[in-house]
């Protein structure tokens, strides 16, 4: 019985949160990796573009809520998502046209693109704060839980409860769908293959008659969809606050690099590696230890390896270790 309780506690406090956080990171890192693979720079505006996508979705959600539109028990935000994606696509395509295209034409060094992306980051940051403000925004509705901790306890008679939030369920399902769809697109459609070809060998792709501007445009649209979805899922799961999206930049970058920049499969693996490390290192293991260990060995403290404030340190340390020992990442990425 104690063993079962320990498993349930592990699932409740570690596995489920880490899987849903990992899914969010993976979707975000897919965007970073695609931009890196096709446009060949690290996009610092990624986090704030995520905030932009989430913001538009929130605004549409509020509007729908005011009209009484609902898809209970699912959150209305899912219905608003396509609008968010459309607006974000428009936004990233505009920034590409106004900002990045020029640097592509003059074949600027990657670092110049990064600088420009910092400019875009400032602007996005300003726009989001200007429109929706810097504070916390609530927009989640519908049923909060698929499974409540209390119901689980009553059902199983265990001491530990297992709570499964709707947002976590949606996140996991969405991540599976998106990854499947994206890989199908990249591996089985002409456009997807041309994107891979362009990322692999730009000169040869040009020689083969692949239109670079089209590849870039399709990439931005996919990235817009990915970041909007990741942003909304994160907002539903935790809460929407512009600054937290900027802070997501570090774990997202870490996921993409750990997996191997430019490699979509790596981005997904990286997302989960980072998420699981963050959650396991900052979780107070006492609860589980109490079930598993004999009384004499019970830890006196919380048995928490690091305080939750250090979660960035976890992604950072993993990042550094991977960079030092395997600079191309776990899956082979580009190391230009």
């Amino acid at each position: 019985m104690d063993f079962l309780n320990a498993i349930v506690a592990l699932a409740n406090f570690v596995l489920i949160p880490a899987i849903s956080y990992g899914s969010q990171l993976a979707i975000g890192a897919l965007g970073v990796t695609l931009i890196y693979g096709i446009l060949r720079f690290s996009n610092f505006a990624h986090g704030d573009s995520m905030a932009f996508g989430a913001m538009v979705t929130i605004l549409v959600t509020w509007w729908m809520q005011s009209l009484g539109v609902s898809i209970h028990p699912l959150p209305t935000a899912l219905l608003a998502l396509p609008f968010g994606i459309a607006a974000t696509s428009l936004m990233v395509l505009t920034t590409d046209r106004v900002v990045y295209r020029f640097y592509r034409r003059v074949k600027a060094k990657p670092i110049v693109f990064v600088m420009a992306s910092i400019g875009v980051m400032f602007i996005m940051n300003g726009i989001v704060r200007f429109i929706i403000g810097p504070g916390d925004q609530r927009f989640a509705d519908g049923a909060r839980f698929i499974m409540k901790a209390r119901d689980f306890k009553e059902m199983t008679g265990l001491r530990e409860g297992l709570a499964f939030k709707t947002s976590q369920g949606i996140t996991i399902i969405a991540a599976v769908l998106i990854v499947a769809l994206l890989f199908w697109f990249l591996n089985h459609t002409r456009t997807g293959k041309s994107m891979r070809a362009f990322s692999d060998n730009e000169d040869l792709a040009l020689l083969s008659g692949i239109n670079p501007e089209r590849v870039v445009m399709v990439t931005w649209i996919i990235v817009a969809a990915l970041i909007t979805i990741a942003g909304v899922l994160y907002g539903l799961d935790k809460s929407f606050k512009p600054f937290t999206y900027f802070q997501l930049l570090l774990p997202i970058f870490a996921s993409a690099i750990v997996g191997g920049l430019g490699n979509p499969l790596g981005a997904i693996a990286g997302g989960f590696v980072i998420a699981f490390s963050e959650v396991t290192v900052t979780y107070a293991w006492k609860k589980i230890a109490v079930y598993l260990l004999p009384d004499a060995l019970e830890p006196s403290g919380l048995a928490q390896l690091l305080s939750t404030d250090y979660k960035f340190a976890v992604s950072f340390v993993i990042l550094i270790v991977v960079l030092l020992f395997k600079p191309t990442g776990l899956f082979k990425g580009q190391s230009v």
């Binding site: 692999d200 040869l204 040009l206 020689l207």
Partner: protein, 238 residues
């Protein structure tokens, strides 16, 4: 005499807008279904000469004609559409993509069914059929060159240009590659190639060009050049 099928006539120019001239009044041509080979010492402008024919550098003088049509002003991409296939010396495959995907990308500009051409490439290079689902980057050097040539053949070009196709492959593989190239020429495709291995290349060549410092030094059939004592002395090592 009618114009040759493809001719770069009196080409003078260099890389970039204001780069120094590398080619000086250089003429390279190839007839339909024939093999023309460019040889010469290091730094003679062999690859540059071929790239000039393909439109990768600025010509100050001279012209390039394909089948009688002046294509001097066209970009390399446009020349591909006109029926020219180009295999660069390095980075000539999509390493992370499968062999079959490489061929598909080769035929990207085509709007018709490409499966038949893929089949023809497989017949020409049977090993590629075996490895068609493997990532091209994992193949051996010789096999990769076959992928590269196969990719270029996907547009059904009338001229195939090869930049040192045998660089870095073993002598046995080199012989096999040359055999394949002859086979390609027999299907009616003109071949223009740059080669380091001058002797072997001239043996299969219908026409040979010896370039020195960006200008034509000797021109003739492959046999003539091989027999020419001066050419033998300076470039073929006696």
């Amino acid at each position: 005499m009618a114009d040759p099928f493809l001719i770069g006539d009196g080409m003078t120019g260099g890389y970039g807008k204001n780069g120094p001239d590398i080619l000086h009044d250089c003429t390279i041509s190839v007839e339909k279904g024939e093999i023309a080979v460019i040889v010469g010492p290091n730094g003679a402008g062999k690859s540059t000469g071929m790239k000039a024919v393909f439109g990768m550098l600025n010509l100050r003088q001279g012209s390039v004609k394909l089948g009688g049509e002046d294509i001097t002003k066209l970009s390399p991409q446009a020349r591909v559409r006109k029926g020219m296939g180009f295999v660069p010396q390095t980075h000539n495959i999509f390493g992370s993509m499968s062999v079959e995907e490489n061929l598909e990308m080769g035929g990207f500009i085509r709007t018709d069914d490409i499966s038949e051409t893929i089949e023809q490439v497989y017949e020409l290079f049977p090993i590629l059929r075996e490895k068609r689902l493997q990532a091209a980057g994992e193949l051996s050097g010789g096999q990769r060159q076959q992928v590269a040539v196969g990719r270029a053949l996907m547009t059904k070009p009338s001229v195939l240009m090869l930049d040192e196709p045998t660089a870095g492959v073993s002598p046995i593989v080199m012989d096999e590659l040359f055999d394949r190239i002859i086979e390609v020429a027999r299907t009616g495709i003109s071949i223009l190639m740059v080669e380091q291995n001058a002797r072997q290349a001239l043996e299969i060549a219908d026409k040979g060009y010896v370039l020195v410092q960006g200008a034509n030094a000797h021109t003739g059939t492959g046999k003539e050049l091989l027999a020419d004592p001066e050419v033998r002395q300076s470039f073929l090592g006696g």
